[in-house]
């Protein structure tokens, strides 16, 4: 499995907005982080679904990252389904890292699936159906 974690400053607002409430209270929205990992668990919950992935760090050790998304309802309405995220699949997630430094992301950017499909994890009301 390839690693890993990359971060860069957000120069252009390319993501759908997340303003269900102020996500910025918990996540640093001035920069994005991209994580490549293997799915260990997907929890379809409200108000935010959570994906657990194992990521190989620069020392080749495995770390668990938690990725927060929109509500389970919101993801379903956007087209996400249970079998889109099978255990063991490799996904690439771009989002905003937790302010407290923990290995948590808000997956407001892209989530690339193993088959190349890209799903949004944000909460843009214009895109909710």
């Amino acid at each position: 499995m390839k690693s890993f974690v990359t971060a860069f400053v957000t120069l252009v607002c390319a993501f759908p907005a997340l303003a269900h409430h102020s996500v910025a209270a918990g996540f640093d929205m001035d920069k994005t982080t991209t994580v490549v990992g293997t799915i260990t668990k997907m929890e379809w919950r409200n108000p935010h679904a959570r994906l657990s992935i194992q990521v190989k760090n620069e020392q080749a050790a495995l770390e668990t990252w938690e990725v927060w998304f929109s509500s389970a309802n919101g993801l379903y309405r956007r087209g996400w389904r249970d079998d889109d995220l099978p255990i063991g699949a490799t996904v690439t997630v771009t989002g905003f890292r937790a302010r407290d430094g923990s290995r948590q992301l808000y997956g407001g950017g892209e989530t690339k699936l193993p088959d190349g499909r890209v799903l949004f994890g944000g909460d843009n009301p214009e895109e909710r159906r």
Binding site: A17, A19, H20, A25, M29, H48, N73, F96, S102
Partner: protein, 298 residues
């Protein structure tokens, strides 16, 4: 299959327009407000069996007024949008100076109530940005919805009853409705002053009163105006206005969305980042803060 599979049957979710066409464009709220007031004068709305305008159905809003009542840009944390305040005409919320300072402090220290799965207040429930269902009988107007955070509902009696006792304070307040011509007027008192009114830390006390007006201006568009009156916080009453547009997605339905299901980890993250649940403010505390502000030495 996980829990999501049990929520509801799939709803059609194709691309394209998700609201029906409107006689008044609603990208600019002030322009919509003026257009809607004119359109309402001549539109004869569909009616229920009891003869009152039929406001029932699924409705959507195209803007996220809960973020900021005033114009704000699109960012990674905001959908952005124009002013929703139509009175005063400059679109600005008429905060008292001490209250504006308090607002900035609030925004830096406290979570918006939705982050904690708390209720948004009577009018606050109406300017989220997702799916609404309005139900109507002769004696009640009911509001439910999805994507409104804490799964709120409103039950508005239309039977002429008085407000509840002054000592009772509720998150959603006590709404009482009446018809004025083709307009449903909802007066809400008895709020508890605990929610913000937007995500910029604007607030009100338990002495606040809101008047909401809902009027069909064509078969698929509803004009909504809410006047906020709290002399403890604002220099004058102010009014926001926007459109509800009839849902155009086939098979729409409101799904269960249990906010408390899994919010504890998020709350821990917020606390670790230094944010706390807004404790609210009483009218007495507001007056005290105002007096302290005015007594400051230059």
């Amino acid at each position: 299959m996980s829990a999501i599979g049990a929520l509801a049957p799939a709803t059609a979710s194709g691309q394209g327009a998700f609201v029906a066409a409107s006689v008044c464009p609603d990208d600019n709220h002030a322009a919509f407000h003026a257009c809607a007031l004119a359109a309402a004068r001549t539109f004869n709305p569909p009616r229920t069996a009891d003869g009152t305008p039929d406001l029932s159905g699924y409705w959507r809003r195209r803007v996220a007024a809960f973020e900021d009542f005033e114009a704000h840009p699109r960012t990674p944390d905001d959908s952005g949008g124009p002013d929703v305040v139509v009175d005063p005409a400059d679109g600005k919320v008429p905060m008292q100076p001490w209250a504006d300072a308090k607002r900035k402090e609030n925004a830096a220290k406290y979570l918006h109530h939705n982050a904690a799965c708390l209720l948004a207040g009577g009018a606050g429930t109406m300017y989220m940005a997702n799916l609404y269902q309005f139900l109507q009988t002769r004696d009640y107007f009911l509001v439910i919805g999805e994507g409104l955070s804490a799964h709120p509902y409103r039950v508005v009696p239309l039977d002429g009853r008085p407000h509840i006792g002054a000592g009772i304070r509720l998150w959603q307040g006590d709404p009482v409705g009446r018809w004025e011509g083709n307009t449903l007027v909802i007066e809400t008192t008895n709020q508890n002053g605990r929610p913000f009114v937007d995500q910029r830390g604007r607030f009100f006390t338990e002495e606040a009163r809101t008047i909401e007006r809902l009027t069909l201006i064509d078969a698929n568009t509803m004009h909504y105006a809410a006047t906020f009156d709290d002399p403890n916080v604002y220099t004058r009453p102010f009014t926001m206005a926007f459109a509800y547009r009839r849902n155009a997605v086939q098979g729409a339905e409101v799904w269960e969305e249990a906010c408390y299901e899994a919010n504890q980890e998020q709350m821990e993250l917020f606390r670790n980042s230094g944010f706390h649940v807004y404790p609210g403010i009483t009218a007495a505390e507001a007056r005290e803060l105002r007096h302290a502000w005015e007594a400051r030495k230059p």
